[in-house]
Symmetry: C2
Subunit: 135 residues, 2 copies
DNA sequence: TTAACTCGTACTATATCAGTACGAGTTTAC
DNA sequence: GTAAACTCGTACTGATATAGTACGAGTTAA
C-alpha cells in the first residue's frame, strides 16, 4: 500500500495543531498526553521538523514549539522531505542512492520523472493551511 | 523516502516491455535473463498483474504474457493497486485496515482525502503508454 | 534548585520488502 | 508419449524499514 509513514502523519498532526496557535509555544508532552501519543516518538518527529526549519523550538520551562512560518507556506512536500527524506518513486530518481543497474536501456527511465514531478507538484501545492481549512 | 516498491517498478517494467509487442506472448524467463532480474520474483509480479486483469497469460511452451488491453488504458494507479493493494496516504483513508484511533477530533482527517484524491488522479492519468511515449 | 521543557543517540521489536525454494500443472514440438 | 518450455501457487528466508522505547544531558523560568 502506497502510504505516508506514521511519522509523517504525526508530523502533519503536530503542524496543524501548532497552526491553530501560531504565536504560542506549545508543549509537546501536553499534546502527546492529550492525543494519547507516544511522547518520545513525537519528540523525534518534532526535532526533524526543527532541523528542517519548519518549526522553532524554545527549550526550558514554558517552552515548546511553534511554526517558523505561516501554515500556508508549509507544504506537505516540505513535511515529507523533512521526515522521510524526499520523494523518489523509482530508485533511479533518488539523488543519494546508487543508481539502478537497469538504468541502461530501461523503458521506464525516461517516463518516470514526469510522474514524479506531478506527484511532487501535488504535495507542494497542498499546505498545512489547506489541511486545516478543509475542517 | 516516499517511493513505489520494487515490485511495482518491476511491474511497470514488464508492462512497458509487453506494450512493445502487444500481440505476442512474451516469455517472462527470457525477459528475466535479458534484464538480469530474478525470474521467480518477476513471476510473482506477473501473476498479480494477471490476477487483476492487466495482462493475460498463456501457459505451456510458446506461452508467456501479453497485455489484456491497450497500454493507454493501463494506468500507473492500476499497477499500484494490483501490486501494493492501493493508495492510502493516511491510515484513516484505507478501506481494509482498522481506523486510526485519533480519527475523532483529528485536525487532519478532513483535509487528507483531498490530497489522496489529487495523488490518485495523477497516478490514474499516467498510463503505461505515456511511460513509453516519453522515450 | 527544581520543575518543565527540548535535544540526541542507541537500542529493540515488529512489519514489510525482496527474493528463494519447491513442486504442480499446461501446452507445443518432436 | 515424452521432453522442453512455459505459467501457477504457496511457503519459506534474509534484509531492511518502521514504530517505537530507554536513557540521560542540556536549557530556561519560577
Ligand atoms: S532505471 Fe528503470 S528499473 Fe531502474 S529504477 Fe529507474 S525505472 Fe525502475
Ligand atoms: S485520523 Fe488523523 S491521525 Fe489518524 S490517520 Fe487519519 S489523519 Fe492520520
Amino acid at each position: 500500500m502506497l502510504s505516508l509513514s506514521k511519522k509523517t502523519d504525526y508530523a502533519l498532526l503536530v503542524l496543524t495543531t501548532l497552526a491553530q496557535k501560531p504565536k504560542d509555544y506549545v508543549s509537546l508532552r501536553e499534546l502527546a498526553i492529550k492525543k494519547n501519543l507516544p511522547y518520545r516518538f513525537l519528540a523525534q518527529v518534532a526535532r526533524a521538523l526543527v532541523h528542517d526549519g519548519l518549526i522553532i523550538s524554545r527549550e526550558g520551562s514554558g517552552g515548546g514549539y511553534r511554526l517558523n512560518r505561516p501554515a500556508r507556506k508549509i507544504s506537505v512536500s516540505d513535511v515529507v522531505t523533512a521526515i522521510e527524506g524526499g520523494v523518489a518513486l523509482a530508485s533511479c530518481l533518488s539523488h543519494s542512492e546508487t543508481e539502478c543497474a537497469l538504468a541502461v536501456n530501461c523503458p521506464l527511465k525516461k517516463g518516470m520523472p514526469s510522474i514524479q514531478r506531478m506527484v511532487l507538484k501535488t504535495l507542494t501545492k497542498k499546505t498545512v493551511a489547506d489541511l486545516l481549512a478543509a475542517k
